[in-house]
């Protein structure tokens, strides 16, 4: 394949990789959903189905040594960074071999060894930390981009604004991405803020900002790539608002009756995976290749489910291990 072949400026190989991770994320969440309905995993389950383009596209635009701070609809960010589905499943099954050894659960997950920072329920707590991580790289003399994601809901919290201001003042190499999925639990954006675009808030802090189609993985990738390059060059933070739609409830237990069906139908037509497939198949990816890819992903994840479920539980005798370093 000649090097110049691109999908709207994105090398085809990169686009195929993004597709693979999005399919992997979708299938893994589908499996988690059925495991949850079968009561094989406990607690709650939060879905990012339909928002894979942001989680995957943004994460892919960073270098492997650059930190990502994903939130609860960003399973794809972890997968894109290389966290294997088995590690994710060990975590959801709360097994000893999982990244948190049963201490934390569901999407509160990350492998720090892969430079992914674990989220907490309090949002957007990762944001000032992302500013600190970015400041650390700047002080070390080699600015590295640090990606921090948030939903539209967290944009109402004071800490969100403190973080943008701190990043602007210290000119840190941050890339902030808002996943505007139009609902904070049951609250529509019309009841969260009165401005047209959350990206407009960047101006209040002297931070350049833009709005992108969050269901277009190529657009997300290119926007984050440009912002990351700007961050590495020492030009400071960027704010990107990615427009999308939450296709499931806040969590699996939430039927989301408050969301108009028509809105969901409309957004279903803009599914990020379908859209990328339409661009890649058949010119850049054969139909058989796509089927093989799907089969391979399903086999890997199905095998990982069996392995994770039969893995050892944490040892209660180790309850107190790690409270202090």
């Amino acid at each position: 394949m000649p090097e110049s072949v691109t999908v709207r400026g994105l090398p085809v190989e990169v686009a195929r990789n993004l597709l693979e991770t999005m399919i992997k994320s979708r299938y893994l969440e589908d499996r988690l959903h059925s495991l949850y309905l079968q009561s094989r995993i406990q607690g709650r389950l939060i879905s990012g189905r339909g928002q894979e383009a942001i989680a995957v596209g943004a994460a892919a635009a960073l270098e492997p040594d650059e930190v990502i701070c994903p939130v609860h609809r960003d399973l794809g960010s972890h997968l894109q960074r290389g966290t294997p589905p088995l590690a994710v499943l060990l975590h959801y099954f709360r097994r000893q071999a999982g990244p948190s050894r049963g201490r934390d659960g569901d999407i509160h997950m990350a492998e720090w060894s892969r430079r992914v920072f674990p989220m907490v329920s309090h949002l957007p707590d990762s944001w000032p930390i992302a500013v600190g991580i970015a400041l650390a790289s700047r002080l070390s003399g080699r600015p590295r981009a640090v990606l921090a994601l948030s939903g539209d809901g967290a944009s109402s919290a004071g800490l969100w604004h403190e973080s943008l201001n701190l990043a602007a003042v210290f000119k840190t190499p941050n890339v902030f991405v808002i996943e505007n999925n139009q609902y904070a639990y049951s609250t529509p954006t019309s009841k969260q803020f009165t401005i047209e675009r959350l990206a407009d808030r960047g101006a209040a802090y002297g931070i350049p900002s833009s709005t992108v189609d969050g269901n277009d993985v190529v657009a997300v990738y290119l926007a984050v790539q440009q912002a990351a390059e700007r961050a590495r060059s020492g030009d400071g933070p960027t704010l990107i608002e990615a427009m999308t739609m939450r296709m499931d409830g806040h969590a699996v237990h939430d039927p989301a009756d408050y969301v108009p069906k028509k809105l969901l139908d409309e957004w279903r037509k803009r599914d990020p995976i379908d859209r990328l497939i339409a661009e890649l198949v058949p010119g850049h990816l054969g139909a058989n290749e796509l089927n093989d890819l799907r089969s391979r992903i399903q086999r890997e994840i199905d095998g990982a489910v069996v392995e994770a479920e039969s893995a050892a539980l944490p040892d209660p005798a180790e309850l107190m291990d790690g409270v202090y370093a």
Binding site: R103, D125, P128, V131, G132, I133, N165, Y324, A325
Partner: protein, 378 residues
């Protein structure tokens, strides 16, 4: 979080508002010989003439500055963050001179947002730095509660990521600073698994515990009592080995009763112990120094020897440090006790501003004397 309203003649002393009034009051009562010009130029913050110093004698505040300077000098990972800590040297001038010496990348002035500052420090800590945050007043720690309790305290337990972070908290009452500049919130944070809490009550510990806090791989809250800043001057030997976090120390040894305290009330307790000793009733004084972890073994041993325990602290009474200490003693020293355990602490009340009210709030030496005497059936 301090109002920046200009208060003529006082705004150079602090950031203004009630703090200016606080400073004036202290300046006129403790330094009545200072000229008003000195007060206006910030002289109260510069030096205390109350304690003529010998060569190796420094104030509590100077010991903290020295520890910061030594850390900045010997460890390139150490950075300071806080409001007004740069060219101004901090509201209490603890960082005075460090900005000039180490530059703006090591002594980092921040906007006024405690949650953001602590969050940023956590980010630095997980990136290999050793950040030391100065909260302008311990009271403002409430703004950063979430960052400390949900991020810093839990990160290592959840994912094995250590957070070597020090939060300096100028705490305590005694200068009429009122409900928002006088609190002693150490008990609240001693209750949080994952955090460590230290409260130095001597010059040597102010230095040693700060260095131990920086060396620790965990988030450490370092409560420095404002009333000790310039009123306490003692010899400092920076070469002495740091006591380490979690070690109580016996400051006076006596067979009849054990006083247990920390921070600014250590001096008062030592005075009471010396008075009783002079009257033939020797009293032990245990300085806890570290509230989390608590040196239970030393505590129990010190009370087992005397059979009587009085706990004294400046944080309020109910569910306070004294409650935990009393529970430890009830569990582990019960059969050595000859009298009920007693606590001397402020009532469950915000810290009031008026001098007469603040005095009624704070444990006074007469009260401690009285409770000790009661406990001894004297």
């Amino acid at each position: 979080m301090v109002n920046n309203q200009a208060t003529s003649g006082l705004d150079s002393l602090t950031k203004g508002g009630s703090d200016g009034i606080l400073t004036l009051r202290v300046a006129t009562t403790e330094h009545s010989s200072s000229s008003s010009a000195d007060q206006r130029s910030g002289a109260w913050f510069e030096e205390s003439s109350a304690h003529p110093k010998s060569e190796n004698t420094v104030t509590y505040l100077e010991a903290i500055t020295q520890a910061l300077r030594d850390e900045l000098s010997c460890d390139p990972r150490v950075v300071l963050l806080g409001e007004d800590i740069g060219a101004m040297g901090g509201a209490f001038r603890v960082t005075r001179g460090l900005f000039e010496e180490f530059g703006e990348d090591r002594v980092i002035d921040t906007p006024m947002c405690e949650a953001g500052i602590v969050g940023m420090a956590i980010g630095l800590a997980v990136s290999g730095f050793r950040p030391i945050v100065e909260l302008q007043f311990a009271d403002f720690i409430s703004c950063a509660y979430d960052m400390l309790v949900n991020e810093a305290a839990k990160l290592h337990y959840r994912f094995g990521v250590s957070v070597p972070l020090v939060i300096r908290c100028p705490s305590g009452a005694g200068v009429g600073a009122g409900p928002f500049h006088s609190q002693s919130p150490e008990g609240v944070f001693s209750h949080i698994p994952g955090l460590k809490v230290v409260c130095p009550g001597t010059v040597q510990d102010a230095y040693g515990l700060l260095r131990a806090a920086v060396a620790d791989s965990n988030p450490v809250l370092y409560f420095e009592h404002k009333a000790l800043y310039r009123s306490l001057a003692e010899p400092l030997d920076p070469s002495l080995e740091s006591p380490g976090i979690g070690m109580a120390v016996v400051r006076r040894r006596g067979s009849r009763l054990t006083l247990i305290t920390y921070g600014s009330l250590l001096r008062t307790c030592i005075q009471v112990a010396d008075e009783f000793a002079a009257q033939g009733t020797p009293v032990t004084v245990v300085d806890l120094r570290s509230l989390q972890p608590l040196d239970k073994a030393s505590l129990v041993a010190a009370v087992a020897e005397t059979g009587r325990a009085v706990i004294v602290h400046e944080d309020t009474l109910t569910y306070g440090v004294g409650a935990e200490v009393a529970a430890v003693l009830a569990e582990s020293a019960f059969f050595n006790l000859d009298a009920p355990i007693r606590r001397v602490a402020p009532p469950d009340c915000p810290v009031p501003t008026a001098k007469v009210l603040e005095e009624a709030f704070l444990p006074q030496i007469e009260t401690i004397r009285g409770v000790v005497a009661e406990c001894l059936n004297l």
